[in-house]
Amino acid sequence: MSPGGRAERLGFLRHSIAQIEAGTPTPARRADGWLCEVLPTSAGDAPAALAFALQLAHRRAGATGAIVWISDEMTLAQRGLPYAPGLAAFGVAAAQITLVRTLDARAALLAMEEALRSPGPAVVLGEMWDAARHFDLATTRRFWLAVRAGGGLGLLLHPAPAPGPLSTAARERFEVRAMPGQTSPSARQTRNAAPADLSGDAPDAQRGLRPVFGAPLWQVRRLKGQGSTSSGETINLQREFSGVALSEPQHPRRARR
């Protein structure tokens, strides 16, 4: 072997060792695998729960990471199809999403495990009708093992609140409730100004009092989690929950180090 080639190889070896010691994740593996569960407080809050899950997805996937969205036909019929122009408002672009429509629960579970195991998608969003029954401890344990191997973020979305206590292997569980929307200051001003202008006209004034449709607001409870945050806390979240102390999922092994 030529001296130059030897030096090059040694340099590469040193570089690799330094990288391993520093524990730098390679670009391909963005972060550790994580499994979250998101539930609505009532069946009507399901879109709010989805939006919250999308926010979590956006944090992990960024603007370009791939999101695999797996849903069974029953959920899509009852809750509607994902609508790309609306998703864009939550930072998730249509191009990031691959939608998998499965005929039944069995195919959905199979696709979810497959997707979680793959290192390709940054986020796997799985929803299923009667999720409380299908996402049982054994299934979610399999999901957890799969997502640890794949290194993505798994989001299990329930279309309705659980009828009983849940026992799953998900690392975190959130419960989301839709709140009356928050209007922007400018919108509030026009609303307050309206009755003064039209004080003489009673029906118009009434109509003017009606608040306009504002930015969405949710109440999020963290029912299960790890780390210092106690479970059961409640936070009100706006659409971009910037500044909210929602702890980033941290793997225990890395936290110890």
Binding site: A51, L87, V100, P216
Partner: protein, 493 residues
């Protein structure tokens, strides 16, 4: 006459119509000999064996082989060979020899076909009768006749057929399926029975196939495995990929997924009492695929931080930002999408495509993730995504996050027929409206002549519980309809 009762006789239903060997099924089976096989109604099959016969020990041996195989299934068949399709047709039905001499001149052909009856020209019975009435009974009688009077009386078809027979005109055959751009196959003296053996053969064929693909710088988008059962049934397993593929393991895995999916639907393609004696693997659609240089280092050298100025917190993010979207939609993702597509069927694995329309349900549609225009759309979508995520705004989103495939009728109560709703009942639940915004009027596409659609007035409404809906009223009150109807079209977060 005597009768007796035999207890050992077991009755079985006659072969179903689906199992009978129709010309189409026979043509499919004949593709084990050559890729170009055409049905020849009502009772024949035409094969183009140019360049294929030597694989079976010559043309005569091939014809004998086909006859013997069909005879083994109880069919009487007659195979004949000639330079043109017309001559082969005549020889198979009227000829005394099996093959016309290849490249034969006019004299030889005349000696061969001259004594045959005019019916060999495959003419309508009335024409054959008419010709025989005039004394023209054999092909010899027609060969040197002046053409004009016969054409005037019996039509041009007579001499078109005659020229086809004598090799002056060439009629191409119309194969049932196009010849695939790539085909590899393996033949066995003894039929394969075991599933594992067949899968191993397919995996081996995938390696041969990728070698061919590599030589031409192409990748497979659509592949098909064909399994020829010894009793004449052909099983086909097709799989598609979302990008050109040249990895033998990936190709074999796609087929395995597809076979598993078919087994789940109780249509096991490998189930066989007889076994398969020919296994083919073909590429139905290929696309150019550049070879990529495999990197020597586990990560991209330019993206990894050097040990000297290493910062563990920011380095991965920087590396992440530098990667192009195409790289992020990595090989792994495409692999997953392909496997899911093979397992669940491609109409269940979708990506979104935006369309140039204002009608909400058509503005974005799901298309199969393996459809060809995907890459271009992808890039365009990524650009718009980054622009929206960079500029967050506090305003309420204009479009819902979920849209019902079919808008659901609701009972809405408005103060005036063309005013905003006050309350509505949807899925038997009464919702009191607390806030709303609208209308957003979306007119139907009047430039399309058949459009019977009505104008829609969309309202974004929020009920007292904070749940948000996208309602619309169909039809302009007074102008289009006297009773506007209300529909629930989507849900806001």
């Amino acid at each position: 006459m005597s009768r007796y009762l035999s207890l050992s006789i077991r009755a079985a239903p006659a072969a179903k119509a689906g199992q009978r060997l129709t010309p189409a099924r026979l043509a499919d089976w004949c593709r084990r000999f050559t890729p170009l096989a055409a049905t020849d109604a009502p009772d024949g099959v035409m094969l183009d064996i140019a360049g294929a016969a030597h694989l079976y020990g010559g043309e005569i041996a091939l014809a004998v082989d086909i006859e013997q195989r069909l005879a083994a299934w109880g069919y009487t068949a007659r195979a004949a060979l000639a330079d043109t399709a017309g001559a082969a047709w005549v020889l198979a039905r009227f000829g005394e020899v099996r093959a016309a001499p290849p490249g034969g001149d006019e004299k030889t052909l005349r000696r061969l076909f001259g004594p045959m009856p005019v019916a060999a020209l495959r003419l309508a019975p009335a024409t054959v009768y008419g010709l025989s009435q005039t004394g023209l009974k054999r092909i010899d009688d027609l060969l040197f006749r002046p053409r004009a009077p016969i054409t005037a009386r019996f039509g041009a078809q007579v001499f078109v057929r005659l020229d086809g027979l004598m090799g002056r005109l060439r009629h191409p055959i119309t194969p049932r399926f196009e010849a695939p751009p790539y085909l590899v196959e393996r033949r066995f003296a003894e039929p394969l029975l075991q599933r594992e053996a067949i899968e191993r053969v397919l995996a081996g064929l995938a390696i041969n196939l990728t070698q061919q693909l590599e030589r031409h710088g192409e990748g497979a988008r659509q592949i098909e495995a064909r399994l020829y059962r010894v009793d004449g049934v052909v099983r086909r397993v097709a799989a598609a990929a979302s990008r050109p593929l040249r990895n033998p393991a990936a190709l074999a895995r796609l087929l395995r997924e597809r076979i598993a999916a078919l087994c789940a639907q109780h249509e096991d393609p490998l189930a066989s009492d007889y076994g398969f004696d020919v296994v083919q693997l073909t590429v139905l659609r290929a696309e150019p695929l550049q070879s990529t240089q495999p990197t020597l280092t586990p990560t991209q050298p330019a993206l990894t931080p050097t040990p000297a100025n290493h910062d563990s917190a920011t380095a991965p993010n920087l590396a992440f930002a530098k990667l192009a979207p195409e790289q992020l939609h990595s090989e792994d993702l495409a692999d997953l999408v392909d496997r899911l597509g093979a397992r669940l069927g491609w109409r269940r694995v979708l990506r979104f495509r935006s369309n140039d329309t204002h009608i909400p349900e058509f503005a974005v549609t799901g298309v199969a993730a393996c459809s060809p225009m995907q890459l271009h759309e992808h890039r365009r979508g990524s650009v718009s995504a980054s622009s929206t995520s960079l500029a967050p705004n506090l305003a309420a989103p204009a479009r819902p996050i979920r849209l019902f495939e079919r808008p659901e009728p609701v009972e809405a109560l408005a103060e005036v027929p063309d005013g905003p709703p006050r309350r509505f009942r949807w899925r038997r639940v009464l919702h009191e409206i607390a806030a709303m915004e609208g209308p957003e009027r979306i007119a139907p596409e009047w430039w399309k002549a058949q459009s019977q659609a009505l104008t829609r007035d969309y309202f974004r409404v929020e009920d007292v519980g904070g749940q948000r809906f996208w309602l619309y009223r169909e039809g302009l009150y007074g102008a289009e309809t006297g009773r506007p109807r209300w529909f629930m079209h989507g849900l806001f977060a």
